[in-house]
Symmetry: D2
Subunit: 140 residues, 4 copies
């Protein structure tokens, strides 16, 4: 994936400016029009009773990757919000490096669709996400 | 909702024993066979750039409430894992109290289905979740 | 469920005017603001190799019930289209009477959310559906 | 896509033997391990009031393509049933040729995941589907 420097800078600034994104500890590794790759690390605090990464944090990663991918595909002033999120859990996730790749599937006038791969450090698919986003005009 | 004391104790112990659940800061408020109500508080660190609670944490709350509801409806030794999670976001969520009510819709031999309401402090519906869980025999 | 005669008439007329709905053989049994109940009958031609009603027709019933429920909750001239549909299959469906109850969960300015129960003749839950609908201004 | 003749024959026989599949009028165009491509034609009887193909039939096509793809990836005697189906509608579908390509994403011991593209005659993406399938031992 060939990153676009201006898009990458914009997303990194957004991640830094958002309390949630900053606290979640993720890195924007690559970004281009319609596509974003995030890096993140699953630690002890993300594990459930069975020693596996909780599904909620994988869903969060998928949603962030898809939302940022939508961000790269709409005009600067417009806003996007998640209206629907779906995740399929394909394999148990162990502590360590996790990546999430978000891709825009289609951007319409009011609705955008995106999908995400959540991968472990060896690029094995852990989860697949899909999301629907409402895209609206800038707040007056 | 009338809580069952033994079920409530069991779930509270599980939440305490899981690094993720403990760190997420949630409280099991009520629990009975097939039903769980959680309390949680959205703080500054959960907000996105628009000052709203990030969708990933609402998805997490829904998944936890549904997973614990499934827990109350299967035999003690059996294990459950999320295989699919879906969330519809109905209203923007502001900082403050949030509740999640998980309910089992059906428990089969290998598959359980659950649904969740995510509510604000005034019991307004913020999101609706649905999930599919694989239920398996105890690990040998 | 207490039907509203004007809403019921409007939906029955729409079902009659749509080639797909008419051919599918469904009946609008009850309708009120935000809620619709359909009747339908699963015959030999709807069965798969295992002698069970194909999941696609249950998904269709859920979508029709939700779409018509959304119809009752938006202004007459506005149009709605399904942007996302999800179905959980809870029990195998045998030939015979099937009902689908669609309910609006929330109607916003551009997006509506609905849910559906698909039931057998004995009111046992066969499937649960959820859907997201785009609501737009009348075509000029 | 390079078809496997034995797999293609097996799926065509199954489609012929199932009352629903036969009546729905679909053709298995290509098939290999983990992948199936179907052909179908949207006629007047599949159109809604707006003159567009009803979403339920596109959901049906997606489910059939995914279910047959799962079929190619499990042992002959085992049975699969849809436990969850999701569809995103990306573009309105007009009368004419429609294709559905189903792909297995992962097959586990009890659960299989698949995805589908629904395309028009010009290979434009109309809808994306995802599904979860329960895979069980042969009925005794």
């Amino acid at each position: 994936m060939m990153s676009d420097a201006a898009i990458l800078d914009d997303l990194r600034r957004r991640v830094d400016d958002s309390p949630f994104h900053r606290g979640f500890g993720l890195t924007v590794e690559d970004a281009a029009a319609g596509m974003v790759r995030l890096g993140w690390s699953a630690k002890e605090e993300h594990l459930n009773l069975q020693g596996l990464v909780h599904g909620g944090v994988l869903a969060t990663l998928a949603d962030v990757a898809m939302g940022l991918a939508v961000r790269t595909a709409i005009a600067p002033g417009r806003r996007h919000v998640t209206i629907e999120l779906g995740v399929h859990y394909l394999r148990p996730a162990s502590p360590g490096d996790v990546h999430a790749v978000g891709r825009v599937v289609r951007v319409g006038r009011q609705i955008a669709f995106a999908e995400a791969d959540v991968l472990d450090g060896g690029e094995r698919l852990l989860a697949r996400g899909s999301g629907t986003y409402s895209v609206t005009a800038p707040r007056a």
